[in-house]
């Protein structure tokens, strides 16, 4: 979303994320990534190897209202600026800040259109507001797009030019990475796969749809089923999806295991119908899952993969890979949003210098590369 000047007489010089990715680790630079969640906001300095320096996690406090949340995001960045990695001059060396924002963004206008867990973020011009308050270049995308870019640049999707990214959290989000780039759609809303219908006669929803996959396979969907389980077995100590997975891991040692297994099978089945629809539409090389619920991967993925393969001959023909993120595996700190936010910055920096090199060649001037820090 950064402004770009371009010589209109030149052919399309824009390199794809796939083309730029191999060059990220050759840069010697730092960026700041910030991941905004409903419960917490996280931020860190990230280098071009995908390593984090000094991660911070603050409470989001949604109920204080959007302006205060925005000010906390700014304060978090300023806090990071006060404590840069060794040898880094935060004002001069940081390439920029990339924000992963939950909800539906109208990218062309830089607006959050709506965000399920931020009820007052309606047509909220987050990009402009952040840009005015911060001295660094600011990049914004929704958390799914940002996560997908992080997965491409530093994670398990490095080999792929065509994949669909799916976050299993409180809700279900998605991103479409096609032909080596995020495909944003006509106004930036592509990838809303959590709203794919998997049961047309299912429960009604606030969005006007019925029976979307989010009702059966997201954190909030599981909470509804957990309530039902608790009503049935008052002795069951299940407060959240994590507890449910703990019961699952006990296997037949837990007397009502069959019911817990069915919950995860239903989750897998709903995700399988969703994936088959997506794969029949897009023929991607891979699907990549991330988000909190991937902790229960072993409980739902087998059914999900089985249903996807049964319902999509495209998946059978294109040898679809169904993958779980490998970012955040060695850390309690959930990295993918932060790493993804920083990836927005790195990719843009490479793209800008690439364009400057080619433009400079075309007009016979020496290239003026962006200065990047030396550790």
């Amino acid at each position: 979303m950064a402004g770009q000047s371009r010589n209109e007489n030149l052919p399309n010089l824009k390199k794809s994320i796939s083309e730029l990715t191999p060059h990220v680790s050759n840069m010697n630079a730092w960026a700041i990534g910030v991941d905004l969640g409903a419960q917490s906001m996280r931020g860190a300095w990230v280098n071009t190897k995908g390593q984090l320096h000094d991660p911070i996690k603050w409470e989001t406090k949604v109920d204080e209202g959007k302006e205060k949340v925005l000010n906390r995001m700014v304060a978090l960045v300023e806090e990071l600026m006060k404590n840069p990695p060794e040898g880094v001059n935060p004002e001069k060396d940081a390439l920029g800040v990339g924000f992963a924002i939950p909800g539906i963004l109208h990218l062309k206008k830089g607006l959050v259109v709506q965000s399920p867990h931020f009820p007052d973020w309606k047509r909220f011009s987050v990009h402009e507001k952040l840009r005015k308050k911060l001295k660094l270049p600011v990049f914004v995308d929704n958390d799914a797009n940002t996560g997908a870019i992080g997965e491409k640049v530093f994670g398990i999707c490095k080999p792929y030019d065509h994949f669909v990214y799916c976050t299993l959290g409180t809700g279900i989000g998605g991103a479409t990475f096609l032909n080596g780039d995020i495909y944003h759609g006509s106004i930036g809303m592509a990838g809303e796969i959590g709203h794919i219908t998997v049961d047309p006669q299912g429960l009604p929803e606030a969005t006007g749809n019925r029976g979307s996959v989010e009702l059966y396979a997201s954190g909030s969907g599981l909470m509804r089923v957990i309530e039902e389980l608790r009503e049935k077995y008052s002795e069951a100590r299940v407060d959240n999806p994590e507890d449910l997975y703990e019961l699952y891991k006990r296997g037949n040692k837990y007397e009502n295991f069959a019911e817990v297994e069915k919950i995860f099978n239903d989750m897998g089945e709903a995700l399988g119908v969703m994936l088959a629809n997506v794969v029949n539409t897009l023929d991607p090389q891979a699907i990549c899952f991330s988000g909190g619920l991937t902790m229960a991967w072993k409980a739902f993925s087998r059914k999900m993969i089985q249903i996807t393969m049964e319902r999509s001959y495209v998946a059978r023909h294109n040898k679809l890979r169904i993958l779980c993120t490998n970012l955040a595996r060695n850390s309690n700190f959930i990295e993918s949003g932060v790493v993804g936010g920083a990836s927005l910055v790195f990719i843009d920096a490479l793209r800008q210098s690439q364009e400057e090199v080619v433009s400079a060649k075309a007009v016979k001037k020496p290239p003026t590369l962006k200065a990047v820090s030396n550790e």
Copy 2:
């Protein structure tokens, strides 16, 4: 699919179909388009205004086997070559032949993987075989992709860079036109939206899926419902979807109108669920329908549009246009496949000359443009 040489040191010079489309009508050239259908194959000379010269329609005769069908396709092209438009030297002036082929194509390998109405077309190397038998440059794509390109270059989708194209025929096919180009997917199978599940508990299918939209909204799906109607009302003279639509047009004058109306409403509802899924995934500017069943547009489209809008807030936000083809409107000859086949050729010719111009500039040689005929 034509071979292309490219200077690897140059940036990406490939212009999109959207970028090339405005230049098609400036060329003074002819191509041959051929549309292969289950019942008939159609072919014609097409000029860069999208006008047809001397259309031919032959029976396909699928049951004679793939080699004979292929030979008939070659013979049809040879027949057209014998009768060129006035002033056109067929050997020198035809830019090429573009074929619209039904079924699932593995574009990278130039194979028909499978084709529902051509049971012996399994891993059939149609592109290579046609190329060997014809003296003109040969272009092949599936009928949905070809139709979408025809709709972009000459039809109702001219203003759009992001749209989904859907053919309602014996089966349901689709194509995804994203960022100004056909998005083919990882192996050329993107756009198989006819297999999107709209009733997970629905009827089983040969592909392994259950309850896909094709069961409820395609010609073969309607034939199943028509059988049921005939069993119930032995006096009903309904042999095909056309007859069903004739009954619909009689309105309340037909005593069982409510049942006929319900059939088209069910069709619209199934298509609406499919569209909502596609629109939530891709956020396109428009959806364009073509194919034989669009003759009943007035009977099913209102319900379809209502359901799409109810089930997809993306459709409500991006002001989605749901359109019916305007090719073939003034003709009994179904043009979209033939015009689309020729469009493959025109776009490739423009792309090649574009690349030659830019390459030539880069290496300081004068451009060598392809010769095109003068009428």
